[in-house]
């Protein structure tokens, strides 16, 4: 039986509090789809300025979180046109805008992968066209993130109602919020499966041999932009070796596990590590002979450090993606 790492969605929640009331905004276009999530007690990083030198100025808030994402039928509508009426409504409701930015002014890629974004397809962020604002009214804070695809507009509204922190209540789970999922959902067969099977590469290199012998191996050669989820393009020997091993037999399968250092919020790190692992998965799937069902991606953030987080050298060692052999385990 194979088990998977869980998605650690509610890592910072679990205390007792009533849900925040939904904020009522009129969407600037017909709603094609809508998603929401509520956490009675969450920690939220409220951005208060653009990313500079890899740091996001923020305020750390705690309270009831209500996050909604809308997909709008808004062909040809710009992100500014999406944002303007929503901003006007917030102001009309008494909110004060404390920070507003556009794409590169926000910090571009790094900003996108630092702020809390609901997963696709509920929310989509075009890295070349998005807008963001933080606003507050009394003890309430909201953020708006808007972006677009050629056919749709995307709006994400996050509201945090500041509540007094409830007294710590015993967690109802036995392990501290890190249960394992029972069975992984089978990943869909991706379009990257070649129609004609390629020539299997001759040798799966040293890395695959280590993986087979040890059961896991860190992909030491991967390069990520700081704070970003995407893998820098390149021919990574580790991935070529892994791909060759996966191409040898459809029985071979691997779990990619992303790790971060311990700087920053736990949940954001867990999310980032998972996205990095997913980025590596995509790079692997682009290589010949690798099928979608052979590779899964998960992230555990800073939970499993291999070095001290007190030094930069240690933190760098801790930021990594490892491959764990999933077949025969």
């Amino acid at each position: 039986m194979t088990k998977a790492y869980c998605a650690i969605a509610a890592l910072v929640s679990g205390l007792l509090a009533g849900p925040a009331a939904a904020l009522d905004l009129t969407m600037p276009g017909p709603v094609a789809a809508q998603e929401s999530r509520q956490e009675p007690a969450a920690t939220y990083i409220l951005p208060t300025g653009p990313i500079t030198d890899g740091q996001l100025p923020h305020r750390r808030l705690e309270g009831a979180l209500d996050q909604r994402a809308w997909v709008l039928d808004a062909r040809g509508v710009s992100s500014l046109e999406l944002l303007q009426p929503l901003r006007a409504e917030l102001v009309a409701q008494g909110f004060q805008i404390i920070f507003e930015c556009e794409t590169h002014g926000c910090g571009g890629f790094d900003f996108r992968f630092t702020v809390d974004v609901m997963p696709e397809p509920a929310m989509h962020v075009d890295l070349g066209d998005f807008r963001f604002l933080s606003a507050e009214k009394g003890d309430e804070a909201v953020t708006l993130l808007v972006s677009r695809s050629p056919a749709f507009g995307f709006v994400q509204l996050t509201r945090l109602g500041a509540l007094p922190l409830p007294p710590p209540a015993p967690l109802n789970t036995d392990l501290p919020e890190l249960p394992i999922a029972t069975e992984p959902a089978a990943p869909p067969e991706g379009p990257t499966t070649p129609v004609v099977a390629p020539e299997p590469p001759q040798v799966a290199g040293d890395l695959a041999a280590t993986l087979r012998a040890q059961g896991s191996v860190v992909l030491e050669d991967l390069v990520f932009a700081s704070g970003a989820a995407a893998l820098e393009p390149g021919d990574y020997p580790s991935l070529l070796s892994l791909a060759a091993w996966l191409a040898e037999s459809p029985e071979n399968s691997v779990l990619l596990v992303g790790h971060t250092d311990s700087s920053g919020a736990l949940k954001a790190n867990v999310d980032l590590s998972k996205r990095r692992a997913e980025g590596v998965r995509q790079a692997l799937l682009a290589l010949p002979g690798v099928k979608a069902g052979q590779v899964r991606a998960e992230g555990v953030g800073p939970l499993a450090p291999r070095a001290s987080n007190l030094t930069e050298e240690g933190r760098q060692k801790n930021r990594r993606v490892e491959a764990v052999m999933a077949s025969g385990q």
Binding site: L178, A304, G328, Q329
Partner: protein, 235 residues
């Protein structure tokens, strides 16, 4: 815990690659996973001739004896003694009801996952639990989990837990030498019990070499009681 149940739980939660019968004996191929998965045992009544025929086929002159399991078990113990097999490496089993061991843990003190992460394999390897023993875990067919203990943002220990019916057994419990006596072992036991409870197990058990007094003290402090033993016979 009867000797027979202890043997069954061992076999299910720490399995050999292959078990086959030669005459009265069950032989095991442990795949290099250590004596627990490689020792032969007796499956029923046997004659001296049967035993000598089986001995001739043994890849390794190693038997495991669960005293009190059956009359044949006692007879085997004596017969091996007569044939110059020495009593070797006695092992003690400890157990407690899952609900007595389960409980709250400090935030992020233990981390349950599968398959085992590299840091966990590293802790095991440092403790002599190498890849062949991790492959033993991989062979377990029932519910299983790797546990990583965290102490002060460090990976301080690891354990493996597997279930067989309503029995859960902990194996490969290791705490890094520099990080001992800081509660990691106890956290791992509690995390193991919490996981076992989620699987519906009623009892949590483990086995430990009799001479490992530090570990045995930990298990007693945690509220476990001695519930059985076994030993090896080695030529």
């Amino acid at each position: 815990m009867t000797p027979s149940l202890l043997a069954d739980v061992m076999e299910a939660t720490w399995p050999a690659v292959r078990v086959w019968r030669v005459g009265p004996c069950l032989l095991r191929d442990g795949g290099g996973g250590g004596q627990r998965v490689s020792a032969a045992s007796v499956a029923g009544d046997f004659s001296a001739t049967d035993l000598d025929a089986a001995l001739a086929e043994l890849p390794q002159k190693l038997f495991v004896i669960y005293p009190g399991r059956s009359a044949a078990e006692a007879a085997l113990d004596a017969a091996l003694e007569d044939r110059g097999f020495a009593r070797h490496d006695p092992v003690v089993a400890y157990a407690a009801p899952v609900e007595e061991l389960a409980g709250d843990l400090p935030h992020l003190a233990a981390f349950a996952h599968w398959p085992p992460l590299e840091v966990v394999r590293q802790v095991w390897a440092e403790g002599g639990i190498g890849p062949a023993r991790v492959q033993v875990m991989g062979r377990v067919g029932g519910p299983k989990v790797a546990l990583m203990a965290r102490s002060g943002d460090r990976c301080s220990g690891a354990a493996f837990v597997a279930c067989h019916g309503d029995e859960a057994m902990v194996h490969a419990l290791e705490v890094r030498p520099g990080l001992r006596r800081q509660g990691a072992g106890g956290h791992l036991l509690r995390a193991a019990a919490n996981w076992a409870a989620e699987q519906g197990a009623r009892r949590l058990s483990l086995v430990v070499t009799e001479r490992n007094e530090a570990a045995r003290a930990l298990y007693l402090r945690a509220g476990m009681a001695e519930v059985g033993q076994y030993h090896y016979r080695k030529a």
